[in-house]
Structure formats: structure tokens, C-alpha cells
């Protein structure tokens, strides 16, 4: 697995992936600055789902998982 930090390409991939499959939405307003970012929480959610080590960051394992071929249905259903 690559040990280098995520590239810009990985960041874009992660953004798209989390929006599509883990319901990541745009962060706006002052609440976004409190506590871990929504993106970090969504990364953690994804890592939990796939049984990866939960770091909340885009580590190599997480990026590798994001690149695997998969079904287009979200893993987390939007709340209704």
C-alpha cells in the first residue's frame, strides 16, 4: 500500500465518494467549525462500515477501498 499522504486526486475521489455513498453534504455556518469536520465523520463512518481502522483521515487503506469497483447505491441511506 502507498505510504505517501493522499494526493489531490485522492482528495477529489474521496469528496465524490463520500457525497455519493455516505451522504456528505456541503458544510456551512458556524456549527461546521465545532468538533470534527463532517468529512472526517463521514470518513470514520465509511471506515467503520468496511471494518477498516477508524482514523477519520484518508489513509492508504481507505483510499484503496474507495478505488475498488462497487455498486452505485449509497452505503448509508439518507434519513427520511
Amino acid at each position: 500500500l502507498p505510504i505517501s499522504p493522499p494526493t489531490e486526486e485522492d482528495e477529489v475521489l474521496a469528496e465524490t465518494y463520500l457525497k455519493r455513498f455516505f451522504n456528505l453534504t456541503e458544510e456551512t455556518g458556524p456549527t461546521a467549525r465545532r468538533g470534527p469536520s463532517q468529512r472526517s465523520r463521514k470518513v470514520s463512518e465509511m471506515q467503520t462500515f468496511f471494518g477498516l481502522q477508524v482514523t477519520g483521515t484518508l489513509d492508504a487503506e481507505t483510499v484503496t477501498m474507495m478505488k475498488k469497483p462497487r455498486c452505485g447505491v449509497p452505503d448509508v441511506q439518507p434519513s427520511r
Binding site: G51, V54, G72
Partner: protein, 374 residues
């Protein structure tokens, strides 16, 4: 498993229609793949499927690329392979396949349409994604031989949670249906591992179709399907070991052995067991390890073990020896083995026996969870 808020078809008689075809396969192959994918679910539920050729079916099946008319565009080759909608009117229940993928009927190239369709049709019937890596409804594609495919336990539980069991199943109790395969659980105290090995600092634990990877930077062992990493390797590995001499991991199944260099299968493998100096009478290796101090590979076969000199490419004289001769107190069959920090660990059933190779003394008896945390 998870469901889409319990959305389901209100009837067990569900219709489907194949609207168009991929150019990757013949019409007959597509028809057959879809039909078999539906039967995967019909076998274990009261659902019955009828194909229609015109009009609107409950499940409309189509192939398309990029923007294909549903506000969820596909993304070109790889990435997203297909998607489907949960049961309901209009577009709901429909399954769409990304025709920028290369779909196949049976080979390991491209993406097997039967496997992709069986997953998508699970959505069409009301199942969402499962986080069980062995489940069909796991979101990541993994090749399995379609000819031996059996719907995993998690998916059977899911579909039967929504629709109940198949009322027609198993009319003949003398010939029960095969049990759906379950995903092994590291927390199961009765778990008996097939094989264990190291690989450049990682530890690997094999069981059935799966293996766990464990490495020092991560506290959570990661469970994967063997086929996800190595489509060419068999399931139910018998034994494995890492040779520090050749920097290879050898994996054994029946009379064959595969070699990995890093994560790649070394070309020219599988080879016969006699390529490692084992006599032709040996039909399978139960466990194997590489002893760093003596630089010998040890192969456990029943009550005996062999010592192989990889450098000289020959079996050491005086072998095979009884296991309890080399490892006093080890009277039960060795089912897996490896060395960690110069200590030897022999697995037998769900126990792990720790030995010092210098004194040949048994030091501790441990449980599986010592190396494979629950």
C-alpha cells in the same frame, strides 16, 4: 444486512423485463445471467419471477452509460458498475448496468454479469448494503466462481426477513439443501483457522473463503475475501508460510503450492508439493512455518513434520519426525503455524501453543485472540 426501511413488493409474483443488451455478451448469455441472478433470490424466498417482453415490468433492467435518464449518471469504466432502486412504482425496483464496464458470462476478466445482477436485484427486492464482507450485498465487487455460487447466510437472512422463507424448499429431508456459507467471526471461541503466516511484517489468518490482515499500525484486523486479493487462489487454504530466505509466501492447498512475492502470485505456480521436496505420498500439508534460526521450512503432515532446506533445495535427513519429538507436549494435530519474534506458535484447533525453538519447551497455551483480536 440492512433494508430500505422495509420497502418490499406487496406481491410475491414479480415481473421483470430486459429492455436492452450489452454488446459485451450474447443475448442468450445476458438472459441466462439475469435469470440465474433472480433464481438466487427465488430459491430462498417465496418470490417468483415472470419475464415480460413489452410494457412496464416491476423490475426494468437496462444497460446505459454516463447520463442515462435517472439523475444518477454513471462514471465510465470501473468505479460504479451498476445501481438499482428499492421496490416501488415507476423507476423504483429497476436495475441499471453501466455499459462502460466490460461484462462477462463466466470468465474472471471484466465483471461477471451474473454476480453484479444478483447484487443489484437484491436492491430491487428491498435489500440495502451489508457490511459483511462475505455477503452478496457487500457493496464492493468480488469475483466468485458463478458455477459454485451459493447465496451467503447474511443475504438469506436478509431476504427472508423481508419476505419469509421459500415454502417449497426442502420437500425431501433425506437430501437437505446445502447450508448457506457464513462469514467466519474472529470472536467465535471455537474458530479453527485454516492457516496463518506473516508477510513482510503483516500477519495473515486464513479461514474458508476469507483471510484477516493484521499489522502493527492497525489495531483492527481487516477481513477480506481471498478472491478479492487473488482471484487465482483457491479458498480453504491448508497451510501457509513466509520464507525469509526467498522473501516469498507459500500457500498450500491439497497437492499444490502457490508462491506470493509481496502481494503478487509468482508466475509458474501452482506447483506440485514435490517441488518443495515432499514425497509423493503426501497429499496435503496441514501447517508450515519458516524457522528463522535454522533457516529451515517445517511442513506438518498429520502426526509428523518434515524439515526442508530451501537453500540446498532438499529435505533434511532424519525426517519426517513425530511432531511431539520436535515439540514436546504437542500431541494433537497441528492445524496452522508461524513464528513471531523468534517464538514458534503451533495452532491446534482453537488453541495456540507457544514454543521456544532454542529450548524446545512449550511455554504457554493461548487462544486465537492472542494474535487475532476479537
Amino acid at each position: 444486512f440492512t433494508t430500505f426501511d422495509n420497502r418490499k413488493w406487496q406481491t410475491n409474483q414479480v415481473t421483470y423485463r430486459i429492455e436492452n443488451y450489452t454488446p459485451d455478451m450474447s443475448v442468450a448469455e445476458v438472459d441466462n445471467s439475469i435469470e440465474r441472478a433472480l433464481q438466487v433470490w427465488a430459491k430462498v424466498s417465496p418470490l417468483r419471477f415472470t419475464r415480460i417482453y413489452s410494457g412496464t415490468a416491476d423490475i426494468m433492467i437496462s444497460f446505459g452509460t454516463r447520463n442515462h435518464g435517472d439523475s444518477y449518471p454513471f462514471d465510465g469504466p470501473d468505479g460504479t458498475l451498476a445501481h438499482a432502486f428499492s421496490p416501488g412504482p415507476d423507476i423504483e425496483g429497476d436495475a441499471h448496468f453501466d455499459d462502460d464496464e466490460y461484462f462477462t458470462f463466466s470468465s474472471t476478466r471484466g465483471y461477471n454479469l451474473f454476480l453484479v445482477a444478483a447484487h443489484e436485484l437484491g436492491h430491487s427486492l428491498g435489500l440495502s448494503h451489508s457490511n459483511d464482507p462475505g455477503a452478496l450485498m457487500y457493496p464492493v465487487y468480488s469475483y466468485t466462481d458463478p458455477s459454485t455460487f451459493s447465496l451467503p447466510r447474511d443475504d438469506v437472512n436478509g431476504i427472508q426477513y423481508i419476505y419469509g422463507p421459500n415454502p417449497d424448499v426442502n420437500p425431501n429431508p433425506d437430501k437437505p439443501d446445502p447450508t448457506p456459507p457464513s462469514t467466519p467471526d474472529a470472536c467465535d471461541p471455537t474458530l479453527v483457522l485454516d492457516a496463518v503466516t506473516t508477510l513482510r511484517g503483516e500477519k495473515m489468518f486464513f479461514k474458508g473463503r476469507f483471510f484477516w490482515r493484521s499489522y502493527s499500525q492497525s489495531s483492527t484486523p481487516q477481513q477480506n475475501l481471498i478472491k478479492t486479493f487473488w482471484p487465482g487462489l483457491p479458498d480453504n487454504i491448508n497451510a501457509a508460510y513466509e520464507s525469509q530466505l526467498s522473501d516469498r509466501v507459500f500457500l498450500f492447498k491439497d497437492r499444490q503450492v502457490w508462491a506470493l512475492s509481496g502481494y503478487d502470485i509468482v508466475p509458474g505456480y501452482p506447483k506440485n508439493l514435490n517441488s518443495l521436496g515432499l514425497p509423493s505420498t503426501v497429499k496435503k500439508v496441514d501447517a508450515a512455518l519458516y524457522d528463522v534460526d535454522s533457516r529451515k521450512s517445517l511442513f506438518f503432515v498429520g502426526d509428523y513434520y518434515y524439515s526442508y532446506d530451501e537453500e540446498m533445495k532438499r529435505m533434511d535427513k532424519g525426517f519426517p519426525k513425530r511432531v511431539d519429538e520436535g515439540f514436546p507436549g504437542m500431541t494433537s494435530k497441528v492445524t496452522a503455524a508461524f513464528q513471531v519474534r523468534s517464538f514458534t506458535y503451533l495452532y491446534s484447533g482453537s488453541y495456540v501453543f507457544e514454543y521456544s525453538m532454542r529450548t524446545r519447551r512449550q511455554l504457554r497455551v493461548l487462544g486465537n485472540s492472542y494474535f487475532l483480536p476479537c
